[in-house]
Amino acid sequence: MTRRRKWAAVPGLAVIAVIATLLSAYSGAQTAQQAGAAQQAGAAQQAGAAPAPLPTVDEVRASIDTVAERGPWAYSGASSPQGYAPEQPINFPHPVHVQGAGMNCLYCHFSANKAPDPGLPAVATCMGCHSIVATGSPEIQKLTQYWSDSLPIPWVRIHKVPDYVQFPHQRHVNGGVSCQTCHGEVQEMPRVFQYASLNMGWCVNCHVERQVRYDCSTCHY
């Protein structure tokens, strides 16, 4: 008898294996909890004293899995370079400029509200201030070096949608989507990293919520 039952276990094990695989892919529930926790954390930080120490790259990156939205089924998000935070030729500190100097995003990314491309500041734009300001710092000297060699700065690209996606910045900016919605709290990032997954489902979710057009030919042509 026992010997016979033993064999009946073979198909049984197979079934169990399949179910286990499916379950392993499910990540919805615990993601939701983390998200909640992170929001509280973020709120607490903002409520804190004004000159709160900036979080380090790793600290901020540690929280991104919880802030970026995910479907209950965590498939196909794997390929996203979310969290990508490369070394830049010049370690440009957004916080210093935005929070410190109180500059507006559009000062440098001048065409984000009137063109598909957000625009990248010309080296001359940087030199506009930095021929006088903070000329001593090593990073600025790198900048002046580029300028005197009349070389453009080879910034490393972080946020990129594939070539077959058309993303007109001006429609989003003028439509009331803040830069932070997609790029994260750049003004708090000592080094910029890819905040959102930029996956299609992530785009579509927002389009559906905001009741704007979301059929394929809105972005793909």
Binding site: S79, S80, P81, Y84, P86, S111, K114, A115, P116, D117, P118, G119, L120, P121, A122, V123, A124, T125, W147, S150, L151, P152, I153, P154, W155, V156, R157, K160, P162, D163, Y164, V165, Q166, P168, Q170, R171, N174, Q211, V212, R213, D215, C216, S217, T218, H220, Y221
Partner: protein, 1047 residues
């Protein structure tokens, strides 16, 4: 692995690298979305440019002598599209294929990168300083002998000839020859003699009868685009449209647009003209005898002419008596009182003034052969290819010790030269043209130079220290200025931006000697120029350069009349409507574009009449040798109804031995078999001067044709109606209700967002989930229905729309010899057009050319042109069969193809009745594949708003969705709705017949909405209930007394 791996490096953001910073993707980490990509900023941000937003510069097209106004769309510093300038009186916003292909001249991968000098057999790159030094020293050495120097320049109007002649004068070199092999010199000379102007304006709209004797006014006779605009307007008068009779040995594109064709043997035109006019000796009978045509046809035409009232007779033969024929035509026009009514010498075109004749070139050849010529310059012309080899141009050139070319292409003439000083492309340089009196078309740089070239005008000024050349002011005539604002600019979807104000430009000053020289000529100076550049136009006249003074060449021995020559066929040669006499051959768009008549690409063919061919056992594709007293050429036969049975015809333009990868070794050059003969009176090169023997070689070569069947098999694709039917009282021809489909009214049905959407929700009124297709849906997306009407009464089949589509939508050309498939594991199919032989051309819009009648192989047949593109069916067969939703119906009426979702099952194409879906058989967009269609720098032209498709995906017409979206973006930014006719598609914009109209059929304020309800309107294959968004308007037949109706 993304859909468009091939396109990485082509996209919008890449365009920020205009400063020439190199290297976008430095290595790849993981999948393509992770690749380390660099963002390269400007050093200084140039004025007026916003990243990702186009600027539009008004300039002048120099692809032919006509000098139409064009507007260059420039994105992030690169010209990506040419469109007609709506403000220009000549072309009024239209543009031909040649003009649009100028971009592929600008970005041609075979252009010289910089100056070159001959060392032994080889041409080696040198620096500009070295090159100019060389030029000076060689000229100084030549000394007084320079009086025998020769400069052959492309024929162009405007200031450059003036400055050129001034420079030549400072060097003691006689004035330049202004040569253009495409010009119809016989006609020009006759016009000058009869009307006193080189080219009177021809008003087809005033005529009731048009008779063209070999005058291909839609191909290459005169200024094609303005004439086509006017002709289309004339035909659009429907019942009042002029009847058009074409007399000639071959039905050209112009001939195919005629209501009646009277075939004649080459050389018999003069007799016919005399017979028609009752002048001269030839009677109708004799003329018919000479022409090999039934006398009744000629008699009918003669009678018709007398009764017609306002008519016009146009002559444009290319025989040894070309000028006589044209004079006879002029006389006939005088006699019939057409001058001043349909022929308007009062408002001439000045573009063709002062063109040198072939006889002058022959004189130069004799001079060079005699060894007297110390120095030879050539710029823009290619006489070594465009003159018959029998003339021996190349051999004569070899006798010249020092030969300089300013061409930036390695053409046959240039490769014989010792020093090459490559000129800027017209889109890179300053200049002006005078197409009509009292109007100057301005030419301005649209972008920084692609290569290390330098404008010839600047060089000349530099060589003379600039000041030496006087800048005689442009004479401002009484002509009214066309005004500064651009009326049609809105329709273009463009804001016309002036060129960078002089001085504000951040390029080295040497680039602008000529600009400043021009400014010196313009009353009002820089300010006036800047404001004039808004439209690219300025009122005034250009001081003409003196015509070249040189020893008149010895007259040639009069040839025997063609009828007396040896052979069993008349040999007829004509310039290709696309490639001209060869200048277009290095542009893949023009090579790929099927000839409007034969529908053959990438190949030279021999046209022969079916009856004669079958007698000789010849069929399509059989290799045939044509032998004349001069030489012989072999090419595949194309059996063509529209050619006189006693005639064989060949197109010019192919058969280059050099001129770059897209031209060299493709096709054959019929001039090999042509004696170097000329029209004794006008000095024009005579093409049709000899008979020939035709022999079948036994070989075979597939015709590179896009034609399947030339007959409609009664399927009603290109429909026509007679005037009688048009005038008949309206009956409800809108057909039957189709069961199961809510209220099917074919044309008003367009008004509904989607007649019966592909997903079927609208079809079911009880459906809860109507989704985005429901007009009540919050997104309001279903409120529009993008649609198009195509007026077949206007369409002439010129195919300009096809080139426009290639340019706008990054469509790859697939016919180059290296783009074929493997015929075995080791060998490749390297025939030119191999892919097209396999039917793999990618023309999103194609012109179908169907013949009606002529079953008896007689001359009485009718031709229908039908532009065929994705019909954007409201109920599309392609949509439900796609397993991955890669094609679906957008709520605003577009049938969308999502490239990145497509897996390439090709089921959609199988199920498409119109066969307008095209598959990427190879990686045409992948630089590391031999089939790559955009070799650097051709890829600079790619439209950043359109995805470059990867291999294995389906593609098709998108109704220029990128333009729709751009218009929507603009409207939203300005807080308004998209206005009626605010923008249009690339094909509609280019169309020189104004046959295509695009817009929102759901909104009655758009012109397309009215046109869609025209009583001539119909859907192709309407009985398949596809609810197409493309509506065709039937053409009108004007049968004459001699022609029974082809229903």
């Amino acid at each position: 692995m993304s859909t468009t791996s091939g396109s990485s490096g082509l996209k919008r953001r890449e365009f920020l690298k205009v400063l020439g910073a190199t290297g976008a993707a430095a290595g790849t980490v993981g999948c393509s979305s992770d690749s380390v990509e660099r963002l390269i900023p400007y050093l200084n941000h140039p004025d007026q440019t916003v990243p990702g937003v186009s600027n539009y510069y008004a300039t002048t097209c120099r692809e032919c002598a006509a000098g139409c106004g064009v507007i260059a769309e420039v994105r992030d510093g690169r010209a990506i599209k040419l469109e007609g300038n709506p403000a220009h009186p000549l072309n009024q916003g239209a543009i031909c294929s040649k003009g649009q292909a100028a971009l592929q001249g600008l970005y041609n991968p075979d252009r010289f990168r910089g100056p070159m000098m001959r060392e032994g057999e080889r041409l080696v790159p040198i620096t500009w300083d070295r090159a100019l030094q060389e030029l000076n020293t060689r000229l100084d050495q030549a000394g007084p002998a320079l009086a025998n120097g020769v400069f052959i320049n492309q024929h162009e109007s405007g200031s450059f000839p003036v400055v050129l002649d001034q420079w030549l004068a400072t060097r003691g070199i006689p004035g330049h020859l202004s040569y253009d092999a495409d010009l119809n010199l016989g006609t020009i000379a006759a016009h000058r003699q009869a009307y006193g102007v080189a080219w009177p304006t021809i008003d087809f709209t005033q005529a009731r009868l048009i008779v063209s004797v070999g005058a291909d006014f839609l191909d290459d006779w005169g200024a094609a685009v303005p004439q086509q605009l006017n002709f289309a307007d004339a035909r659009a008068q429907l019942q009042n449209a002029p009847r058009f009779v074409y007399v000639g040995p071959r039905r050209s594109l112009t001939g195919l647009n005629a209501d009646q064709w009277i075939p004649c043997r080459p050389g018999s035109e003069l007799a016919i003209m005399q017979a028609l006019g009752g002048t001269g000796t030839a009677s109708i009978a004799q003329a018919a005898e000479a022409a090999g045509v039934e006398p009744t046809l000629l008699q009918g035409l003669a009678d018709e002419l007398r009764g017609a009232g306002r008519s016009m007779i146009l002559a444009g033969t290319r025989g040894a008596d070309a000028m006589e024929v044209a004079l006879a035509a002029a006389a006939l026009n005088q006699a019939l009182g057409n001058v001043g009514v349909t022929i308007l010498p009062g408002s001439p075109a000045t573009a063709f003034e002062r063109a040198a004749s072939y006889a002058d070139v022959r004189g130069v050849v004799e001079q060079m052969a005699s060894g007297q010529v110390p120095v030879f310059f050539v710029r823009g012309a290619n006489p070594a290819f465009t003159t018959p080899p029998a003339l021996g141009f190349a051999a004569a050139m070899a006798r010249v010790p020092f030969k300089v070319s300013f061409s930036s292409y390695p053409d046959e003439t240039t490769l014989l030269c010792d020093l090459i000083l490559p000129d800027h492309h017209a889109l890179e340089s300053w200049g002006d043209a005078q197409p009509v009196p009292g109007l100057i078309g301005l030419q301005q740089p649209t972008m920084d130079p692609v290569f290390n070239t330098r404008p010839t005008a600047d060089l000349l000024l530099l060589l003379t220290g600039g000041g030496a050349l006087s800048a005689a002011p442009l004479a401002i005539s009484g002509a009214t200025s066309p005004g500064v604002e651009v009326p049609g600019a809105a329709a273009l979807g463009s804001q016309v931006v002036p060129a960078p104000a002089p001085g504000a430009v951040t390029t080295t000053p040497r680039e602008h000697l000529y600009r400043d020289w021009l400014i010196g000529r313009i009353p009002g100076g820089a300010a006036a120029l800047t404001s004039a550049l808004q439209t690219g136009l300025i009122a005034g006249n250009v001081g003409q350069s003196a015509a070249a003074v040189r020893p008149a060449p010895a007259p040639v021995a009069a040839l025997p009349a063609i009828a007396q020559t040896e052979g069993d066929f008349f040999f007829h040669i004509y310039p290709s409507p696309l490639l001209g006499t060869g200048s277009g051959a290095n542009k893949p768009w023009l090579q790929e574009l099927a000839d409007p008549v034969s529908k053959i690409a990438w190949q030279t063919w021999i046209e022969i009449h079916p009856t004669r061919a079958w007698d000789m056992g010849i069929d399509n594709g059989d290799l045939v040798t044509i032998t004349t007293g001069t030489g012989s050429v072999t090419a595949p036969a194309y059996l063509y109804l529209g050619i006189h049975p006693d005639t064989v015809a060949m197109p010019l333009g192919r058969g280059h031995t050099a001129y770059g990868r897209y031209a060299a070794g493709i096709g054959v050059n019929p001039l090999i078999a042509v004696p170097a003969a000329e029209d004794a009176q006008s000095g024009g090169l005579a093409y049709s001067v000899t008979k020939c023997r035709v022999t079948k070689t036994g070989g075979f070569d597939d015709l590179v044709t896009t034609e399947g069947s030339a007959r409609q098999h009664g399927r009603g694709i290109a429909q026509a109606m007679t005037v009688a039917e048009l005038m008949a009282p309206v009956t409800d021809d809108h057909g039957h209700d189709i069961p199961g489909v809510p209220s099917y009214e074919p044309l008003p049905g367009l008004r509904s967002p989607v007649a019966a959407d592909a997903q079927g929700e609208l079809a079911d009124p009880d459906s809860k989930d109507k989704g985005m297709y429901d007009p009540q849906h919050w997104s309001k997306m279903a409120s529009r229905r993008w649609a198009m009407t195509i007026d077949l009464a206007r369409c002439t089949g010129c195919s300009a729309c096809v080139t426009a589509c290639y340019a706008e939508n990054n469509i790859p050309t697939v016919g180059a010899p290296w783009q074929g498939r493997a015929t075995s594991p080791l060998t490749w199919d390297e025939r030119p057009g191999a892919n097209i032989v396999k039917g793999r051309e990618m023309t999103w819009i194609r012109i179908e050319r169907y013949f009606e009648g002529g079953e008896d192989y007689g001359s009485n047949f009718d031709t229908r042109f039908a532009p065929m593109l994705c019909q954007h069916c409201g109920n599309a067969p392609c949509e439900p069969v796609c397993p991955v939703y890669a094609t679906y119906h957008s709520p605003d009426g577009l049938n969308v193809q999502v490239y990145n979702r497509c897996v390439g099952t090709r089921y959609c194409s199988n199920n498409c009745p119109y066969k307008v879906r095209y598959f990427n058989w190879f990686g045409y967009g992948e630089p590391n594949r031999r089939q790559y269609a955009f070799p650097e720098p051709l890829n600079w032209q790619l439209n950043p708003d359109v995805t470059v498709r990867g291999k294995g995906v389906m593609e098709k017409c998108t109704f220029c969705v990128q333009r729709i979206r751009e218009a929507e973006h603009r409207a939203v930014a300005e807080g308004r709705l998209v206005e009626a006719d605010e923008f249009t598609t690339a094909c509609a914009q280019a169309c020189p017949s104004r046959a295509i109209v695009f817009g929102d059929a759901a909104d009655a304020t758009w012109s397309v909405a009215q046109l869609a309800t025209d009583r001539r309107a119909y859907h192709v294959f309407g009985d398949l209930s596809t609810y197409t968004a493309v509506v065709y308007l039937k053409s009108i037949i004007h049968p004459g007394p001699a022609t029974p109706v082809q229903a």
